[in-house]
């Protein structure tokens, strides 16, 4: 569900035409300049927060606040990045360890939901069975809920699972990365099923029908035909799931108590609170390092992400 916040609709790929000018004639120089000024101003507003954070991150550590607006501050330095990598918050935990915790949650939740999700998506998209519509409605109903909807019962239920493990000692499923991962799956799985079903619906049935005529079983059709064709959608769904796990906040913040379990999102939140003494340069360097992995993938794989999502195919 968190992932769906970043859904992109499919974009048609027909030749470009102007809505204003009826497709003929060229821009007068005056008009061109006016539109350029408008576009550049717009670009400035889009880029400003990014430039601001970048310039803050170059401030030296002995300055807790910026001295003013400047692209490259005086005495610019990369000290803040060094500090972030070594120990960004007051907790004795490095950026690498925080990132590793986030990766564990994100990778686990996204892989599990895609692998299980594609099986269910195949059944919903291709097989006819009794109860199909009811079950699909159940998925859609869950999909409608924000992740906060399952917060309370999951907290209470997972908290009941407390074990005395031989080596690890006391283990509380609620207060563990595993518990948070499970909670994320509870929101991610319905999204994966729905999105993958939408994609499978767009795959033409000719191949499968040919295979069926030749005697291929349902399983063979799924593993030999559907699965390879659905790879782009699997990759995109897994990526979106990964990003929502990478930046997950609600569950981790409420469930996790141990400093060693902290995630990137938790550290970011604790850095910008009212009562923190984190220099802005450290906060900014942290935000940049945190944002870069998903942003880079997103920026360069946009076309594939767009085409791997089902929402464009859904008629309102």
């Amino acid at each position: 569900m968190t992932a769906s916040a970043r859904d992109l609709p499919a974009v048609g790929r027909s030749p470009r035409r102007s809505p204003f000018r009826g497709g003929r004639g060229r821009l007068s120089l005056q008009r061109q300049l006016a539109l350029q000024v408008g576009s550049l101003l717009l670009l400035a507003t889009v880029l400003f927060p990014v430039v601001w954070v970048f310039s803050l991150s170059l401030d030296p550590l002995n300055r807790s606040r910026p001295e003013g607006l400047s692209l490259i501050p005086s005495n610019a330095t990369l000290e803040a990045y060094g500090k972030v990598i070594a120990q960004p918050t007051n907790n004795p935990i490095s950026f690498g360890e925080l990132a590793f915790n986030s990766i564990k949650i994100a990778l686990g939740a996204s892989l599990v939901s895609v692998l299980i999700g594609v099986l269910a998506a195949y059944a919903f998209s291709r097989l006819r069975f009794s109860g199909r519509q009811v079950l699909m409605l159940v998925i859609l109903g869950v999909l409608m809920l924000p992740p906060v909807a399952t917060l309370t019962p999951l907290f209470v239920m997972l908290n009941r699972i407390q074990l005395e493990l031989p080596v690890l000692g006391a283990f509380n499923l609620r207060n563990s990365l595993l518990g948070v991962g499970l909670s994320i799956i509870s929101g991610l799985l319905p999204f994966a099923i729905w999105n993958l079903k939408g994609y499978l619906d767009t795959i033409p049935k000719d191949l499968e029908e040919a295979a069926a005529v030749d005697g291929a079983s349902t399983n063979q059709t799924f593993f030999r035909i559907i699965l390879p064709l659905a790879m782009p959608a699997l990759a995109v769904t897994a990526f979106l799931g990964f990003v929502s796990g990478w930046t997950e906040f609600y569950f981790s913040w409420m469930f996790l108590n141990k400093a060693s379990d902290q995630t990137l999102a938790m550290a970011l939140y604790s850095m910008q609170g009212q009562f923190t003494n984190t220099p802005w340069s450290v906060f900014s360097a942290f935000a940049i390092l945190f944002a870069i992995p998903p942003a880079v993938v997103y920026f360069f794989a946009q076309k594939y992400i767009t085409s791997g999502l089902a929402i464009g195919a859904v008629k309102g």
Binding site: P19, L35, M157, E209
Partner: protein, 343 residues
């Protein structure tokens, strides 16, 4: 390749079964096999918790009932529901009707701005002969690629009253007009007094509206661009020949083609914005005095800060019905607009 391999293998086995869409008990059994993993997992970590939550909502489940050995909570009937709906909760700044109205207005105002700006900017960057068109389109997508959590924290920093970028820029502009820089120590996210006397909305609302506009219009522009590019050029030429001016061409051709793409997306955006946790929680923290709280952030606060698990459960159930009504209404709207288009 794969299909060929399958064909050959199947032929070698010499078996032929019914068509792919054929029903029958055997198909049904296979279908259930494919569904078992998903529904097993969902049953345990999604559906059962949701039902458990309904039971919790009729109890006074609190922090004392958390431990495995703790006594069970007391049954309190619909007390939690009554307390929420009547705004009688023992927590500060909780007013249920205000919360819902604000949340609806928040979603509606944001989406209206996103759609209008998105369409306008799509028209701008689709203008024929505009230089650097591709570069603009590529760069305008930047807000979309940054995780919302980070957008919220960075904008909170920019709204800082003392050293924030927004006040620094305003002070810089003010200098030209001969204003003292101290005039711009605006506490964007915490100021208590409403900026516009006759509109009961705090400054934090407007500040977050700006942030969410920055965040929201690019995707709308992408959707609008897709729709614009699907308009056949002949339509404009025909309209022009019939003597239609630029405004008429825009209204009758451009808007007609934009509507079917934009309306479903606007509805989708409405639901997303309605449940937008990050800005309200990270930027204003619901303040001042809980006036920019959304249902999702209030729900989170009830359980995370106040540890009122029973009340939180009731709140989640109420939220479910609110979201259900919104979905039903928007579905009906979508169907109505579709019907109009088919006329």
């Amino acid at each position: 390749m794969t299909a060929v391999a399958t064909t050959i293998e199947a032929r070698a086995k010499g078996r032929v079964r019914g068509g792919i869409l054929g029903g029958g008990p055997r198909r049904t059994r296979i279908a259930y096999l494919y569904l078992v993993p998903a529904f097993l997992v969902m049953g345990i970590i999604t559906l059962y918790p949701l039902l458990f939550q309904v039971w919790m909502s009729f109890t006074d489940y609190g922090i004392g009932n958390l431990r495995a050995t703790a006594p069970p909570p007391h049954y309190v009937g619909v007390q939690n529901y009554v307390d929420i709906l009547a705004s009688q909760l023992a927590i500060p700044n909780f007013h249920f009707v205000r919360l819902i109205l604000y949340n609806l207005f928040w979603a509606f105002s944001n989406v209206a701005i996103h759609v209008v700006l998105g369409v306008g900017i799509a028209l701008l960057v689709n203008t024929k002969g505009l230089w650097f068109k591709k570069a603009y389109r590529a760069l305008f997508i930047i807000p979309v690629v940054i995780p919302p959590l980070i957008v919220a924290t960075v904008w909170k920093n920019m709204y800082d009253p003392d050293n924030g970028a927004v006040n620094l820029i305003l002070a810089g502009l003010g200098k030209f007009l001969g204003m003292a820089p101290d005039a711009f120590r605006i506490d964007w996210l915490r100021q208590v007094a409403d900026p516009i006397p006759f509109i009961p909305l705090p400054l934090a609302f407007f500040a977050m509206l700006v942030t969410n506009t920055w965040l929201g219009w690019p995707l709308n522009a992408v959707v609008a661009t897709g729709a614009l590019q699907s308009i056949p050029n002949e339509l404009y030429e025909a309209a022009e020949m019939d003597g239609a001016g630029p405004w008429q061409r825009f209204r009758n051709v451009t808007l007609t083609y934009l509507r079917p793409a934009m309306i479903p997306y606007a509805i989708y955006g409405f639901v997303i914005t309605f449940n937008l946790f990050h800005l309200a929680y990270f930027m204003s923290a619901g303040g001042p005095f809980g006036r920019t709280e959304l249902l999702v952030t209030q729900a989170y606060r009830l359980v995370n800060d106040q540890k009122l698990y029973g009340v939180g459960a009731s709140f989640a159930v109420i939220m479910f019905f609110i979201l259900l009504s919104i979905t039903l209404v928007t579905n009906r709207l979508a169907r109505a607009t579709q019907a109009v288009e088919e006329l």
